[in-house]
C-alpha cells in the first residue's frame, strides 16, 4: 500500500502531571499557580458557545470572580444542541451498589474508546463525574428518582453497571438548563456579559497568543471585535460536515476550524461516531436525522429478514426467517453492544440486501417480545415519549409495527488538540466539550458526552485557566480596537463580500448536501483506501465549484440564514478534506474509524497499536493537501490495550 506523503512535525507534549493516574489530578491541583481573588476581576475570559461546556465554564469562572463575555449563536443559550441529549449522564457514584467505581468508569471509557484516548484525562473525567451529579442536583436539576426519594440510575450503552443518571428522555435539556440558569445568575450579578445572535468567525492571535475574537452579529450583520485574556472554545463538534446528522442544523465547525487555520492543531478528525438508532432517511428533501435514544436497545430486539430482498411486511415474516443478528453474533452483549459495533453491523446487513423499508437502508427494532414479557404498561412507562416521537415523524405506531432504524452521524470524537490543561496549541485558546478531542478516544460511550462537557466547564477549566492567567498581564477591552483586530475583521469582511459576489447558479444547500453525501459514502461508517483517495480528489473540486458557482440571496446587513450557512459550508469543504486525509493515513480500524482493509476474520475492528497508538494532530500549512502531522504518543500504563470483545 502506498503510504501518503505526509510531513511529520515535532511530537506533542500534553503536560501531564506526575504520579500514578489516580493521583495526577490532585498532584496537578496542588502544584498550579492560582490567581489572587482581587486580581481575578482584572481578567476577561471570552467563552464561545454556551452549551453544557460553555455555560458551565462561564458560570463557574464568573463565580470565581473573572469577567466573562459569553457568546451564543442562537437567540438564547438554551438552544445549544446539548439540549437534545436524551439518555443520561454517567457518574461513578456506585449508588446501586453494583461494583461501580472511578476506576471502573475510567476503564470502561478507555476500553470503549478503543485505546485511543489519553488515560490521564479519562481518569480525571471519571473522578469529577461524581461532583457533577452533586452540583446538578444542588442546582435543582430534576433527575429521575425512586419512591424513597433517592436518585434513580439505569444501565446504558452497554455498560455492565447502572451508573447513568437521567431525567426521562430529556437529560441533556435538564443539565443544560441548569448550567444556563447558573450562567444567567452571573449575568444578573454583572459578572457575565451575554451576547446572543453572535457567530465567531475568527480568532485574533497577537504575538502567538490568543487575544480575542471577531464575531458576526447575526441580527444586524455587523462584525464585532472582542479582546480578552483567554478564549474558551465551547462550540461543539463537526458532525454536520455530513449534512445529514443528528446534530442541530446550526451546529457547525467554523469557530474551531478558523482557530485551526490560525494555528490550533486539529486532532483525530476522522474519529466520528455513528449512532445506531436513528430514524431512517425518508426522502431527498430530508434536512436532518432524528436520534432515538439508545435506551431503546435495552428492550428492543434488532433484526432483519434472513433472506436478502425479502420485502414482506414484518408481521408476515415468521420467527425462524428472522435474523436477530446482534444477539447471534454477540451472545453476551446482544443488542447492547457499543454504538460503533451496532452501527457497523446494521450497515453490513443492509449491504447484504437484507435492509428493510422502502429504501432498504433500515433494520427493525422490535418491541413485540418486550410488550409480551413486560406488559404494555411497563413499555409505555419506559419509552412512551420516544414512541410518540417516532410516530410523529414516521406516521407509524411502534407498539404495533417494529421501528425502522438506521445509523446516523451523531458525535465527533476528534476536535482541537488540547493538553492536560485543555489548552490548544495556541496559548490562551482552550477547547472544551465536544470541541476538543481528548477524552473519548476513537469511540464515545453512551451518556459520556454530557459528563465531559460539564466536567470541562465546571471542574477542569476553572483550575487550569488560573495556571495560565496567573502572572499574565491583563488585556484591556480597548485592545479590540487594535490593528490586529482590524486586520482580521477586514479579512472576514472580504470573505463575506466574496461569497455574496459570486451570484452563481447553485444554492448553498445543494452544494452542502453534495458534500455531505460524499462524506457519508467515503468517510462514513466504513472507509477504504480507494474511496478515501477518490473523495480526496473530489472535495477540492467541489470546493472550487462552491467558490465559483454558489448563489447566496440577500445581503450581509442583517439576518440571512443562507449567508450564515455559506460560510459554514465553506469551512466544512476544507475540514472534510482533512478528515479524509486523516482517515486515509490511519491504516488501522479503531472505534468509529473502520477501514475495511483492517478487520479481524470475524469482521471486527483491527487496531494496530504498534503503529497508531497516538493522537494525530494536524497543523494547517496553507495547503489543505499538505498539513503537517504532529503525534501525541498514547501510553497505556493502567488499562492494557486488548482486542475489544463483546461476544
Amino acid at each position: 500500500m502506498s503510504k501518503l506523503n505526509i510531513q511529520e512535525g515535532s511530537p506533542l507534549q500534553a503536560h501531564l502531571p506526575a504520579g500514578h493516574v489516580s493521583e495526577k489530578w490532585d498532584n496537578y491541583k496542588a502544584g498550579i499557580k492560582v490567581v489572587n481573588p482581587a486580581n481575578k476581576r482584572k481578567y476577561t475570559v471570552l467563552v464561545i458557545g454556551t452549551g453544557l461546556a460553555g455555560a458551565s465554564a462561564a458560570a463557574s469562572l464568573a463565580e470565581m470572580g473573572y469577567n466573562v463575555k459569553a457568546f451564543c449563536i442562537s437567540d438564547s443559550p438554551r438552544r445549544a444542541h446539548s439540549i437534545a441529549a436524551q439518555g443520561g449522564i454517567n457518574a461513578a457514584k456506585n449508588y446501586q451498589n453494583d461494583g461501580d467505581s472511578i476506576w471502573r468508569l475510567f476503564y470502561d471509557t478507555v476500553k470503549g474508546g478503543d485505546f485511543r484516548a489519553r488515560e490521564s484525562n479519562v481518569y480525571r473525567l471519571a473522578q469529577v463525574s461524581v461532583s457533577i451529579i452533586d452540583q446538578c442536583v444542588a442546582q435543582g436539576v430534576p433527575f429521575a428518582r425512586e419512591y424513597g426519594g433517592m436518585l434513580s440510575n439505569r444501565s446504558f450503552g452497554g455498560a455492565q453497571v447502572s451508573r447513568t443518571f437521567y431525567a426521562a428522555g430529556q437529560t441533556g435539556q435538564q443539565l443544560l438548563l441548569g448550567a444556563y440558569g447558573a450562567m444567567m445568575r452571573q449575568v444578573d450579578a454583572g459578572k457575565v456579559q451575554l451576547f446572543t445572535y453572535r457567530e465567531m468567525l475568527d480568532l485574533v492571535v497577537v504575538d502567538g497568543v490568543a487575544q480575542g475574537v471577531v464575531m458576526r452579529n447575526l441580527k444586524t450583520g455587523e462584525l464585532e471585535s472582542y479582546a480578552g485574556d483567554a478564549v474558551l472554545l465551547c462550540t461543539g463538534g463537526y458532525g454536520n460536515v455530513y449534512f445529514l446528522s443528528t446534530n442541530a442544523m446550526n451546529s457547525n465547525a467554523t469557530a474551531a476550524w478558523r482557530c485551526h487555520k490560525r494555528g490550533a492543531y486539529f486532532a483525530n478528525p476522522c474519529f466520528t461516531q455513528i449512532h445506531p438508532t436513528c430514524i431512517p432517511v425518508s426522502g431527498d428533501y430530508q434536512s436532518k436525522l432524528t436520534l432515538m435514544s439508545e435506551s431503546l436497545r435495552n428492550d428492543g430486539r434488532v433484526w432483519v429478514p434472513k433472506k436478502a430482498g425479502d420485502k414482506r411486511p414484518p408481521e408476515q415474516i415468521p420467527e425462524d426467517e428472522r435474523d436477530y443478528y446482534l444477539e447471534r453474533r454477540y451472545p453476551s452483549f446482544g443488542n447492547l453492544v457499543p454504538r460503533d459495533v451496532a452501527s457497523r453491523n446494521a450497515k453490513a446487513v443492509c449491504d447484504e440486501g437484507r435492509g428493510v423499508g422502502e429504501s432498504g437502508l433500515a433494520v427493525y427494532l422490535d418491541f413485540a417480545e418486550s410488550i409480551q414479557r413486560l406488559g404494555l404498561k411497563t413499555v409505555e412507562d419506559r419509552y412512551n415519549n420516544l414512541f410518540e416521537m417516532y410516530e410523529r415523524i414516521t406516521g407509524e405506531n411502534p407498539y404495533k409495527v417494529p421501528m425502522r432504524i438506521y445509523p446516523a452521524v451523531h458525535y465527533t470524537m476528534g476536535g482541537l488538540w488540547v493538553d492536560y490543561n485543555l489548552m490548544t496549541t495556541i496559548p490562551g485558546l482552550f477547547a472544551l466539550g465536544e470541541a476538543n478531542f481528548s477524552d473519548h478516544g476513537a469511540n464515545r460511550l453512551g451518556a459520556s458526552a454530557l459528563m465531559q462537557g460539564l466536567a470541562d466547564g465546571y471542574f477542569v477549566v476553572p483550575y487550569t485557566i488560573g495556571d495560565y492567567l496567573a502572572g499574565k498581564a491583563p488585556v484591556k477591552a480597548e485592545a479590540a480596537k487594535g490593528e490586529a483586530f482590524t486586520q482580521v475583521r477586514g479579512e472576514i469582511q472580504g470573505q463575506i463580500d466574496k461569497l455574496l459576489s459570486i451570484k452563481g447558479t447553485r444554492t448553498v444547500m445543494e452544494l452542502y448536501r453534495e458534500l455531505g453525501l460524499k462524506m457519508w459514502d467515503y468517510v462514513g461508517m466504513s472507509r477504504t483506501e480507494e474511496g478515501l483517495k477518490k473523495v480526496l480528489q473530489e472535495i477540492p473540486k467541489l470546493r472550487e465549484e462552491f467558490w465559483n458557482n454558489v448563489r447566496i440571496p440577500g445581503d450581509a446587513d442583517g439576518w440571512n440564514k443562507n449567508l450564515e450557512f455559506a460560510s459554514r459550508v465553506a469551512d466544512f469543504l476544507e475540514l472534510g478534506e482533512l478528515m479524509a486525509l486523516d482517515a486515509l493515513y490511519r491504516e488501522e480500524s479503531c472505534g468509529g474509524h473502520f477501514r475495511e482493509e483492517y478487520q479481524t476474520e470475524e469482521g471486527e475492528a483491527q487496531r494496530n497499536d504498534e503503529a497508531y497508538s497516538y493522537a494525530a494532530a494536524w497543523e494547517y500549512t496553507g495547503n489543505f493537501a499538505q498539513p503537517v502531522l504532529h503525534k501525541e504518543p498514547l501510553e497505556f500504563e493502567n488499562v492494557k490495550p486488548s482486542q475489544r470483545s463483546y461476544k
Binding site: 458560570a59 442562537s74 437567540d75 452540583q135 442536583v137 444542588a138 428518582r145 447558573a182 430530508q286 439576518w559
Partner: protein, 257 residues
Amino acid sequence: MSDNMRMKLKIWRQKGPNSPGAFRDYELDNVSSHMSFLEMLDVLNEKLIKEGKEDPVEYDYDCREGICGTCGVVVDGVAHGPVRRTATCQLHMRTFRDGDTITIEPWRSEAFPVIKDLVVDRSAFDRIIQAGGYVGVNTGCAQDANSIPIGKEEADKSFFAAACIGCGACVAACPNASASLFVAAKISQYAHLPQGKPEATRRALRMIEQMDAEGFGNCSNHAECEAVCPKGISIDNIAVMRREYLKAALKTGSATI
C-alpha cells in the same frame, strides 16, 4: 400518503423589525407527505433562490427534533400548527391535504419583536430567567446528591414543569400574549424541590416583575397555552406560580424585593 401534493401558502413577509409586513402568496408543487413542515419551507426557499426574484423566507430553527425550542410559527391560527404536543419542526405534511391553503404567521407579541419574516426575538425570556430562574449555588459547594431525598411524585412534578423548551408558543397562542406559562413552569419546577425553597420569595417576585416589565399580557386562564405547548406543560403550574407569588408578596408586603 401522497408524494405530489400542491400547497398554497400565505406567508407573512417583513424585512426588518421596523418595516411594515404583509402576506404573500406562494404555490408549491410536489410536496411529499413525509416532509416535515420546515422541510416543505426549505423546498420553497430553494425554489425562491433559484428563481432569484425574491429573497427566501426567513424562519428560525435549530435541532429539528422538537427540543431546542428555536422554531415556531403560527399555522392557520394555531401556534406550532394543528397537531398537539408537537413543535413546528416535528409537524409533518401528512397532516395537510393536497390543495390546502396554509397561512403562516410569526409569533405575535410586543415582547417578541419580529427580526425578519417569521423570525422573532425572544430574549425577553432570557431576561426573565436572569431575574431568578435558577438555584443560586456556586460550583463546587454542593453536598452529596443523595443527601437531599425528594419523593418521586414531587420530583416528577418538578420535571414536568422543567420540560419547558422556551419556544414561546404559549405567548403566541395566548389571546393576551401572556408569558405566564413560561414563567410558571420555571417557578413551579423549583417550588416542587427543596433546593428551590431558600430563594422562593425572591424568585417569584423578581421573575414576575421582569415578566411584567417585558410587556406581556395578563393570564385570563384560557388554557390555550397548554393546548399548544409542545411539552404539554399544564396550567396547574400557573396556579402554583400564583400561590408562590401570594406567599412572597405576603411575606415582603411588596411586589419588589
